[in-house]
Subunit: 355 residues, 5 copies
């Protein structure tokens, strides 16, 4: 194999994917703590809007095919389930931050000793609020656009009534089922290294949870928020009867069922030593997929670091064979990064400078 | 990872995609300013024609399935929405210039200090007029081909009546929703590095905005232009009741919602320093996707540069290991390009020689 | 070809795929023996849950389209068969362990002298029990979620009655037909090196066995287990009338029809010498796809090996051009690994330290 | 980017694609002139047969679904349009020569000074006749196979009547619309560097022109030829009322609308200097996609060149790092190839030895 | 291009694909002659079984949709044609040997002077018998599984009656049409270097011949064999009225229409010298896709070659930059392989040791 016939691969293994996920969690915490909560919040707000795009699309189009769906409720679910995930594609590819993904990525970072419990909680709260706000604003935008006809409004109400009528623990359990699949979508799309691979990796598990009838916190922000904005239901009802148990269920699925089991199989909880050698590479990858490359790379980017040698060192780096991005990572002296790494106590990782 | 098992990737991260988008905007401005407005205009005209191909296809075919769509208006929208985007594929892959894409790429270039406000405005105006002219000529071509039967003409009229009957601000808002998605298509297709990846990256957001009922300036050029040419509506009505608010909404979505937020997340507005080291590479990429590689590469291509050493230097470049294209970029002396880069005042970037 | 125009490949040949499969079998045995049966069992349990996701989805959705399937039982089978395989995608990509895959991978390892018969049996028993438990727990979870409506329950019962009414030898034969195709899915997905390639490689043979009506042990765990939990059938009936012959049939298909014939065509049974040179590479690949990279790589990871030189040697490895993963493999002195390899008696391979 | 994280690309930019197209045109002319008109003609004949495969398939299958198409003529067109392009895939991938592709590739070669006007005309005439003959022979073959039932024959007649009843200039205009899209398929499939990418690049524009009702010369050879062979129409009628204007329209679209505009945007007509450095690479690529690699590569392959040093030089070339194909190209002494290149007068390029 | 922006390709050109096909034919002959007819026969038997999987699937499922196919026979053909090719995917990817593919690959090897006429005939006879036996055994297996309900049996009989009622020469002609397309599937899937590319390359031409109604020898083995085993027809009838003319037609298509024309366009019959330099690489590729890598690589693998230096030489090979597989090929002394190559008389190539 190898170079002889140029065999290449576009899929990562599950362990690699899990460790990249944990680094994503670390980057999320890092983005929020080091750079600014506002930028983090902005990515949550945008993700809330994108959820609205997909959820509105699914309700409006799948609800306007009575001729073929009246006798085939399964077909209606299937169409709904294959219209909805466009939002997850938009969010995943553009670095958006969703509560459900945060609920698996930051616990993974915690298990791998890359983020403190406080960071995890702050990320969860901020993404929850950001997604909610984005969804509500987008629902308002849709109303401004006058794109909620009577039939669609009835569809929203019927969905909302169903979602708020189950027992608390049942909705909680459905929240587990949902984020189990969403976490799989996050992991699988991280394994795929080409666009359509990522799209398929997202559509398969997402459409599965939608068809099965599980509960997704941000989707419910939009679906129930629209009903609230249309005046058909009170926000308190929606919050207590659905959002609260869904939120908890999503968190348990992400933190325990997926991040926990993966950390046991491939990471820290299973007592397998993580290879430090590939660490910087993975961190770089996770940061790139989050679009926050430059904020944790090196001390050069810290605010206040106006060292006059900065520009020069970059020039010299780019004059070697190795591309500048990777060379900056590997040029960090071992004495500064290497040995410290394992010595950093859990819960303090993201507070110290990442060098 | 790395070379051991030849793991490769065919997707760019969101930050990279945004910066390539900004370079595309810079290239657009550069194409117009440095080379010739005629070539720029030609690419706009062709894009207008391609819009006609997709729009006519969507109206004619989705409108000729009464048996399955009469009871299923959602299915009709879905078929329409998956026939239409062939035009965006044709335009994106062949370097065509569309008003909607220009409305996100050139503001991005402006935010990243790669184009002046005047350049942005000239690009917007020229692409708007070029798209309109291309669409109108293509509508005339379709009439010459005698491919507008009575049922299709009725479909066009019904679409046009719906599009011109909403309030000004509602159509404006729908314009925002549209170009939000179109901009996502531009960004996502820039992230994908394989053909079907690009096609999927275009189809998903484009079909989303079409099904949701948002307003797209160039598509409306064709859809409403056909109604005007068929004598069913006056151009002034079309302009004031739809094209004007749609144009403004598209611009706000491209410039503020997408380019603005991305520049805040990944670029200049968020105060994150752009790495100059990878700059030439990105510029080259953007130029290649626009098909205007050679016009800004190096001083050798400037008209009038008949230096007899030119051919020789190329030969010597190609005799090294590095391919000639990249070597020409990196052979530019640092003293000429590097330090000037940040010193160039905003608004003048495209006026100086691109050395 | 070669480097000149950068021709690459994303598909492995059949021999390569078979040898990777045998290594997967060896890794399975190794995971169970060396590391912990609990981790192995955990991966089996998770796989049992994922089987439940796909099986429940297929029953519920395909059973809720009476309008189009009542007159078209073939269409119902087709929809069922294209909803079900999402579970195999989830399992294959995340390192889950299924009885059916184990029944082809560990016999292959046995034929290639990489695992003892005892190891094979222990893997088979453990995966059988783990899958069963996972399926039953997931069925309980679905009942908790209140996602089994009356129509679906009737569908489950009707499926269960059909599955338990055939003669023992007929069900046994159907078990052969099933795992023949599942083994093909394992092999083909191992050949594909991109996400959608793997998905297609799984969907084609899996949907084929489902539509043809063959019997899959873990799927029956869920489908019949749900009927047992719903109180419609006794577990003993289910075990004797279906699970037992299906289990045996699946084993014969995996061990004899596929692993046996492939070992004859490409491996040890056909007396073709396996190239030792590419051995370490293949082992690494199989381990990565199982997500258990670190447990058999090198003596460094053995518990108790706290050699102080360990960290240092990694650092030095990563300072060379070659990536650390491959270098660690090739840095193993020949005297320790090479000559021993063929000398290890069959049946003891996995007991000795893998160096 | 670059090597650090192994980012690769499978799509060429539009300029590159256009220049490869021009080289394809040059190779076509070269194949005809240098090697033998018979081999060229053979490729045209085969392409004519393949057109028959796809056209017959589309008519027969789409015409045998009255249950779903009688009320949905648009659906019938859609099915026809997605069955037909299998022929273009077969032709494009196997080096077949079609009049429509020749009508864009050879004019591009002419505009880029790689082929004489006479060469262009000879290619056009020979491909026209070859395609016609292939189509007619294949129609006879289908009749021999007894695969034209009554319903299909009626479908052919109805299609033929529609195709011969429009005004000359209308059919001419429809010919323009058709080859505009076919040329896009040629360009886009040249941009895609993977199989499914090429298939999608072909299906999207081809299905578009078919659904819109444009006129394709070789398809009409088969569709109308079958009607003539079945005795339902005279060849003269078919020629004058359809084939003539379609042929002219196809030529105008290929030569003027596409090759002309692309040459203006990216090539010689726009006065942009083509980079000679990448020339040999592009020529090699175009030859490979035509399957005529060896006939123009180097003087070694010229008949009569039995230099005894030949084998030796290859051996030595292959003993260096660079693969032999590329090294043979770059080993050609500069004095023989380089400076001559621009000095060759237009119209004589293909006559001289290509060294 | 080249390394600068890491442009890669996953599709081979037609000439390359043809030469790989010829090498596949050579490998087939080599597998049979040098190693053992039993292994060759085993691969034919397995291929016969896989044909059964796909053929049974297509009949049973497409025949159980009366609701949508009774009024739409074209839709029934389409569904049949897209269920059937799963067998060709299984066979192509796993190194199975089918009569139809043998009928194009071995004649290509003969035309390129890589196999003797006797080898070709022995391969054809052995694959014919092996496929037949596999199909018949699989039909018996399906009957054991009790998976032939009454409706399906009626479908089989109706198909069989249609297939045995045409004139001898008409069935012969349909056999030509079939293997023309199957040969295209073999060639195109050899061009594609990714899994889904290969799948598409197989599905497009295979579904085309199925929908058009052409005759495929191995498929008829199963379809007619099932009717014979079910007691509805005599084997002699089936043999004389269908299998004989189909066999001849398939052979003419493979040997003359495709292998002959391709050898004229790209190979020996067209008098174009094949480049010996890339020969070893191509042979390796063909062997890998057949899964018989090690049996013809080098003298080291010949039985009886227990040279003690063997292991050592491999170690040294792997210590160079070049991967061991390719280096083993190029390490063969020139004196032994190179000059002999062209001197070997036609018809004896496969008899001598391949060094």
């Amino acid at each position: 194999m190898g170079g002889a016939d140029n065999m290449t691969s576009l899929v990562k293994g599950p362990k690699e994917a899990y460790l990249v996920l944990a680094e994503k969690g670390r980057s999320l915490a890092g983005l929020m703590v080091r750079e600014s909560s506002l930028k983090f919040f902005g990515q949550c707000f945008m993700a809330g809007c994108y959820i609205g795009f997909g959820a509105h699309l699914a309700v409006v189009i799948s609800g306007a095919m009575p001729g073929i769906t009246d006798e085939n409720p399964g077909l209606k679910k299937l169409i709904f389930a294959y219209l909805f995930p466009v939002n997850l594609v938009l969010i995943t590819l553009t670095g958006g931050v969703l509560y459900t993904g945060t609920a698996v990525a930051t616990p993974a970072a915690f298990f791998e000793r890359k983020a403190s419990l406080l960071d995890v909680l702050r990320c969860l709260v901020l993404s929850w609020v950001g997604n909610l706000l984005g969804s509500l604003v987008f629902a308002g935008f849709i109303l401004w656009c006058d794109l909620l006809d009577d039939r669609s409004q009835a569809s929203f109400l019927s969905i909302a009534e169903k979602k708020t009528s189950a027992r608390f623990d049942v909705t909680f359990a459905r929240g587990i089922g949902c984020n189990w699949m969403v976490s799989m979508a996050v992991l699988l799309s991280g394994q795929a290294q080409d666009m359509f691979g990522k799209v398929v990796a997202i559509y398969l598990p997402i459409s599965t949870f939608v068809m099965l009838g599980f509960e997704h916190t941000p989707a419910n922000f939009y679906l129930l928020g629209m009903t609230v904005e249309a005046g058909d239901m009170s926000f308190l009802d929606v919050l207590l009867k659905n959002l609260l148990p869904t939120t908890l269920g999503n968190l348990v699925a992400g933190a325990v069922v997926v991040a926990g089991s993966y950390s046991y199989f491939f990471g820290n909880l299973g007592n397998t030593t993580t290879s430090e050698a590939t660490e910087p590479f993975r961190r770089l990858q996770a940061q790139r997929s989050m679009g926050i490359e430059s904020d944790v790379e090196s001390p050069e980017n810290q605010p206040g670091n106006d060292d006059p040698k900065r520009y020069t060192s970059r020039q010299s780096a780019s004059s070697t064979c190795a591309p500048s991005i990777s060379s900056r990572v590997s040029f960090v002296p071992e004495g500064e990064e290497g040995p410290d790494w394992d010595a950093i106590p859990v819960g303090k990782v993201t507070k110290v400078n990442p060098v």
